[in-house]
Symmetry: C2
Subunit: 307 residues, 2 copies
């Protein structure tokens, strides 16, 4: 099934306790595309970069099935750049520098050939930009997944509220769920957020796993306890890419299938953090993924006889 991915394609400079990188390939849409490519032969990309963006990065995306017809390359402009530093615990990070560059004036243009998208992944971006993509489509996709963050809740809550009305699945972290709902209990937060538009809410808790809510049920996918986490950058986007990639591949948007999809998303994210940047996603063997998913099943599986 056709998947349209919208989000940033960017440069990241990353510092962790294990080392640091210069400007490497980053961006939500990049991670989503690479992760989804594990499930789909092709996907369509709407994004923007500057003329400083190297051809080899575009080739990497193409080699992972990305149709880059919707990737604007703005002449005389520079690519979005983020420089962050993770703290010792790897759970929190400080932004050292953000250069919006091309992102400051991003007007998404959806190519004609993408306008019948069946699956739409709106990666973390200004909510009004996410909405502009939705507005250009010929028809409502079968599934719309939107990822966002606290920054947009702080400064563009009205725009976000509008976009949320058109969304099937919202993915945010636990703190953002609390902020958006004003509820501390995640069960209550989910109930409140599901009244804002989304039919399904995914609460990402990083190393503590992910919760999947609809208005009747809750499901939990653990995170894999890992020997080392080298670089958490992109883990949430990789999760989202695996989630929607699996759904599009199986073309089944039932809640039961979403349970499986968040396990595949969690498995993909568990690979992402094992190396710097996108590196671990470049040549991931499908057998490795299957073994990891088996490990996820085993992590929580036990037979409980009635006592």
């Amino acid at each position: 099934m056709s998947l349209l991915i919208v989000g940033t394609v960017a440069f990241d400079a990353i510092e962790t306790p294990f080392g640091s990188t210069d400007k490497i390939l980053g961006g939500a849409a990049t991670y989503i595309t690479l992760s989804a490519s594990q499930f789909l032969k092709s996907s369509n990309l709407v994004s923007v970069v500057g003329e400083d963006f190297p051809e080899e990065h575009i080739d990497l995306l193409k080699n992972h099935g990305s149709n880059v017809a919707g990737l604007q390359i703005l002449e005389g402009k520079k690519t979005f750049f983020w420089h962050g530093r993770y703290n010792q615990d790897m759970n929190s990070r400080d932004t050292i520098e953000t250069q919006l560059n091309v992102l400051g004036e991003f007007e998404p243009i959806v190519p004609e050939e993408f306008k019948n998208a069946e699956y739409l992944m709106l990666g973390n971006l200004m909510p009004s930009v996410q909405q502009k993509v939705l507005d250009q489509l010929h028809k409502r996709p079968k599934l719309v997944v939107l990822d966002t963050m606290n920054f947009w809740m702080d400064h563009f809550l009205d725009d976000l509220t509008v976009a949320l009305k058109n969304v099937d699945v919202l993915t945010i972290n636990d703190e953002e769920a609390r902020q958006l709902s004003g509820e501390y209990s995640l069960v209550k937060a989910a109930r409140a957020i599901l009244k804002m538009g989304p039919k399904v809410l995914i609460i990402k808790k990083g190393e503590h796993g992910a919760l999947l809510f609809n208005d009747k049920e809750v499901f939990f996918a653990p995170a894999m306890p890992l020997e080392d986490v080298f670089d958490p950058t992109g883990a949430g986007d990789t999760f989202a890419g695996g989630f929607i990639g699996y759904l599009a591949q199986t073309n089944d948007i039932s809640f039961e299938n979403m349970k499986r999809a968040i396990i595949y998303g969690s498995a993909m994210a568990s690979f992402c953090v094992e190396k710097f940047g996108t590196e671990r996603l470049h040549n991931l063997d499908p057998k490795e993924l299957q073994l990891r998913v088996d490990a996820f099943k085993k992590l929580v599986h036990t037979e409980i006889p009635v006592i």
Copy 2:
């Protein structure tokens, strides 16, 4: 199978965002006893209180199958008292006041009839006191579970190190696992701690569930997402009581059975936090427990076909 429970029996004053209590029944051994009573008709208690400790609290323990022959009542002395205040997020708390009282001079005396204990739960106490109980037994129990906390790591690490050599299962939280091992990764922390004596390590992560490690395997039990958490006091002890109660009831200390036991422990803990203090554990219907365990199974269960 006979279960010996050692730990505090105490008064707690608790403040949460939902209300506060005056001196109510508390203490690790109290929660462990009440929780284990869901699985065992009887258990044996070694603890200490002052002459201010009301008969009705002792009756409550007796009514839950506790043999209180090892409960010292020190004349002219007062019962251990803890006064704590939970912060808005319910995940952190401040100690307002601690009155050690009888605990300051506690010399545990194991009654003759308890000295062949098959299951031993050493609740959180000074490590040398935990060791003194072990020293009085006629034979090594089939299973020894020890709970401890950061305070003993800070001030009595040598004593704790000695006690750990005699333990089968250690239960601590994630921060304590990091402190004890000097490793941030919980996988590495577990490996280091399993070299200190325990064959099995349980890392309690509160609202984020619990991890069970031996030297080959890891298993994860989620926490149940709850509508409201009224009072987290005693949740860890209730977890431990459910864990060892289930193991003693089934008399099976295999790792497979420990997986089931941490789900029962988690289920018991999920009840504990629904009301203040021990209240929710007083009259818990076995059917309620079974329904909660079923909900835990459902929370993580999905069939994943090979793709």
